[in-house]
Amino acid sequence: MITNIMIHAILPELIISFGLVLSMLLIAWQRSQRMIQFLTLFILICALVANIPLFDMDVTQVTSLIKVDTYSAFTFMLIGLSGVVVTLLSGQYLRTKTEVHDEYYLLLQLVILGASILVVSDHFASLFLGFELLSIALVGLVGYIREDKYSVETGFKYLILSASASSFMLLGIAFIYSQTGDLSFVYHTGIVSGELLSADLPTGNVPQQSVVLLVGSLLFFIGIAFKLSLVPFHFWTPDVYQGSSTPVTMILATISKVAMFTVLMKYWFSWLSYSEAGLLDHDNFIKLLSVVAMLSMVFGNSLALMQTNIKRLLGYSSVAHMGYLLIVLMVTSSQSINFAWQSALFYLAAYVLASLSIFTVLIVYSSQRSSGSDKLTSSSTDDDICIADLNGLFWRNKTLACLVILSVLSLAGIPLTMGFIGKFYLLTVATQSELWWLIGALIIGSGIGLFYYLRIIFALFTTEAAESSVNEKNKKLELRLTSHLFIIVLAVVGLFFGIFPDMITRFIGTL
């Protein structure tokens, strides 16, 4: 039976669903890009406001499908805020294209709805629903700009790989279901499942049971690993990052990653308590995860080294970041789970903010560039920003350059930024659980990472480019007041939370 409290708990999702209907009505009534953008913003802000009380609410189970807690409220906040930023920037981005793009915002809302269902899901059915909503809407977004030279390639690549990932995941879920007889996450943890298993099956069969369960979980993990672009499922990342329009890349880097990682953690920590009950030995799985994590850290960073296109570079760097994040899954004792959650959420917040910042710069910069030069030369390639394009940016526009520096430093995990505190959290988790190999990989990965992060920063300061190339590069880059303000806000927020991380830990609880 649905009570008022339950309604309250899923109000953000309800608002977005209702908003979707309203948006469709609006499109039927009048096609206006500006109106639908405002409506999307309005819906998201309403959902975010409805999300605020959830921080103080107890854990609420809404049917067996959905569980709302502080952690999911926090991730919803991240998703919603990223959504707001993407909406704001999409407006600026789409203005440079012809046509009216109502459907774009519809797809965007669908992505956010999918992501928000994912983070509250507590059941494989709701998980799959969210997963598919997110994926299918993203396929639409990835190939959205039809006249773009990459759009077909990118769209297809994402569609096919995403579909196969979903089918792997579905198979995994089926395997898990065949063993547990239930689709909810929590069911594993309950005594009921233990009784069920041990009652139904003689004890001798248990090892065999765990193998199927293990394979199922492995397949499930593959589905998620694809979305998180962990090594060896990372091959699509750079191409899709480069090929999609920048606001969509932003969604891939923030909303999709946050939602996927959250749901992975939700499942994983339920599973952990399952194995604690002695029904499953998951040491091998942890070893496998560690290998995946280490490979992601090292490969992601190494592959990013030689990239010249910033979006490709960020794609590879996201591989490494997801690798770092996997560290929190290695927590073995149930006492540390809360701390693992906090670490992961803080790191995600830092990562999201840094990604939002740097993609904002890319969007603002490319739209500025295309409006500055004549339209013919920069029709399809204004999304391709290379590191060399940023040469001397610091001397032309300090605000923009400062935001780049801040976000890159945050990704590299240097103090004064949130990224550093995030890395500090991860190192603390790793030290606590004595994961020395992972720490080693993290340090090596960060060391390699510094090469390309510093390359971006140094490019900002080069002075040669300004002298040699066209005089267009020499002039100061002027921004519109709104973009200027927006960029300042992002930079200040990043710096503030980097110096006073307590403001965020207050949301996600302390030790």
Binding site: I414, L450, L454, L511
Partner: protein
């Protein structure tokens, strides 16, 4: 509070200078100069007037910062910090004076970076919360990298990246050690703490202490630098602008030594004593290798850079001798090397301004046209190879005497480094100032005379009256 004010003041002055440079050219250097002068005076006056006893760590401020980890903003100073802070202030002034004419492009941003780096270094010397220490450790790195990468010489990006990565990777190891220590504190007391004086009370199991100490040691050995992690230093020094080199050699290397003293030797006495033979081998290798490499260089700044490696080897040797005399020698060497290497780099900058080359082959016979510069060059080369009467002699002498009581073999080997330093010191002087005159160079200007003159005076004062420093580090028990 006073050091907080000093650091904030430096940052604020940097921002102010950056802004005013765009309003009126060349105002940034005046702002930098006066802010450092003012804040240094403020620091000295408040230390003297407080009348506190600084032979123990004196906690100045302690407020919560990140409550999730019980991290505090805690600053404390003792005589060691005060000596190094004074050195920092003095060399900061030298840095501004050295950059006076050299930096013409983007001067506002340059002075901002310079002041920010100095603020970070000051933080390193007085932070006693280890998280805060790490924070400053990294913060001083960023502006320093910017100085090398933006205003450096031809190969600056490579040098800056190398410098940054070496320090960053090693400092991550230190961060892991810091976290591990905090958790040892948690296990023993039930509270997480990053506070240095809490850690001193801990009883750390030796097998853990060994590894944790190693994390700290590597980070500081990179900064010091010691062989085999020294290779960033010659590049960074060579490519950095003059003030960058002065700051690097004069103060940044000292943060490594300071870290060794405070966070390795005092925090892990037993583990570091066990480790001492290895550290001493590294030290002796650094001394000999640095001297040998210095002799082989053709680049003026590279030569001085390798000589720094050699000299810092003496510091490491002395510190790991666990002997009061050697410890005093190490502290004197820190000050003396800070002054003498800063002076040599300043000279290199002055020569570069005149002939636009750092190559010794392009030099020669400067004595004929610039006798005053030659005189000072001779004096500083003399200081570098430990001429009695100058501070370096006292430092190296005490270090060797102290260490001899513990490890005579190492000291005998290390003493060969002194011969090496005489060889490269004389070579440096002879190839640049003696021989047939190649070019006519201007002699020192008033500003340059002020720089080298003040550095020389201090070297002489500490050389003739080392008690000026020694009296403050006498009672230290190792």
């Amino acid at each position: 509070m006073m050091l907080t004010i000093v650091m904030l003041g430096l940052i604020a002055a940097g921002g102010l200078g950056w802004y005013f440079e765009s309003v009126k050219a060349q105002s940034a250097r005046w702002i930098a100069l006066f802010s450092i002068l003012g804040l240094a005076t403020f620091f000295i006056v408040s230390v003297i007037s407080s009348g506190a006893d600084y032979s123990e760590l004196n906690v100045l401020v302690r407020v919560p910062w990140i409550s999730a980890f019980n991290i505090e903003y805690a600053l404390a100073i003792d005589y060691l910090s005060i000596i190094l802070l004074s050195l920092t202030f003095f060399l900061a002034l030298i840095c501004v004076l050295v950059s006076w004419e050299e930096i013409q492009t983007n001067a506002g941003f340059y002075y901002f970076n310079l002041l920010a780096a100095i603020a970070g270094i000051i933080g390193v010397f007085c932070a006693v919360d280890l998280f805060l220490f790490f924070f400053f450790w990294e913060v001083m790195l960023l502006p320093m990298t910017a100085i090398i990468a933006i205003w450096g010489h031809e190969n600056r990006h490579f040098a800056a990246i190398k410098f940054f990565i070496f320090t960053q990777v090693s400092s991550l190891l230190m961060l892991v050690s810091i976290i591990a220590m905090a958790y040892i504190h948690y296990d023993q007391t039930g509270l997480i703490s990053f506070f240095y004086q809490d850690w001193l009370l801990l009883d750390i199991p030796l097998e853990k202490a060994r590894y944790i100490m190693l994390g700290f040691f590597i980070a500081f050995a990179v900064k010091l630098p010691s062989v085999p992690v020294h290779s960033w230093l010659p590049d960074a020094h060579t490519q950095a602008p003059t003030a960058g080199s002065v700051l690097l050699a004069g103060v940044l290397l000292k943060t490594g030594a300071y870290g060794l003293i405070r966070f390795v030797i005092f925090l892990f006495p037993q583990a570091s004593q066990e480790f001492a033979p290895i550290a001493m081998v590294l030290a002796v290798v650094s001394i000999l290798y640095g001297a040998k490499m210095a002799f082989a260089q053709e680049d003026f700044k590279r030569l001085v850079a390798y000589s720094s490696i050699s000299h810092m080897g003496f510091v490491m040797l002395a510190l790991f001798a666990f002997n009061t005399l050697a410890y005093q020698g190490a502290v004197i060497t820190l000050v003396a090397h800070g002054l003498s290497s800063a002076a040599l780099f300043a000279l290199a900058g002055m020569i570069y301004n005149r002939i636009h080359s750092r190559n010794l082959k392009d030099m020669g016979g400067f004595w004929h046209s610039a006798p005053r510069m030659g005189g000072f060059a001779l004096a500083f080369a003399g200081a570098a190879f430990g001429l009695p009467g100058l501070a370096n002699f006292v430092g190296e002498f005490l270090s060797l005497v102290g260490a001899y009581q513990v490890a005579p073999v190492f000291v005998i080997l290390a003493a060969f480094g002194l011969i090496g330093s005489a060889v490269y010191g004389m070579m440096l002087f002879q190839t640049s100032f003696q021989g047939p005159p190649t070019t006519v160079v201007k002699d020192l200007s008033g500003r340059e005379l002020l720089i080298v003159g003040s550095l020389f005076m201090l070297l002489l004062v500490f050389g003739l009256y080392p008690n000026a420093v020694l009296q403050y580090v006498q009672g230290v028990q190792l």
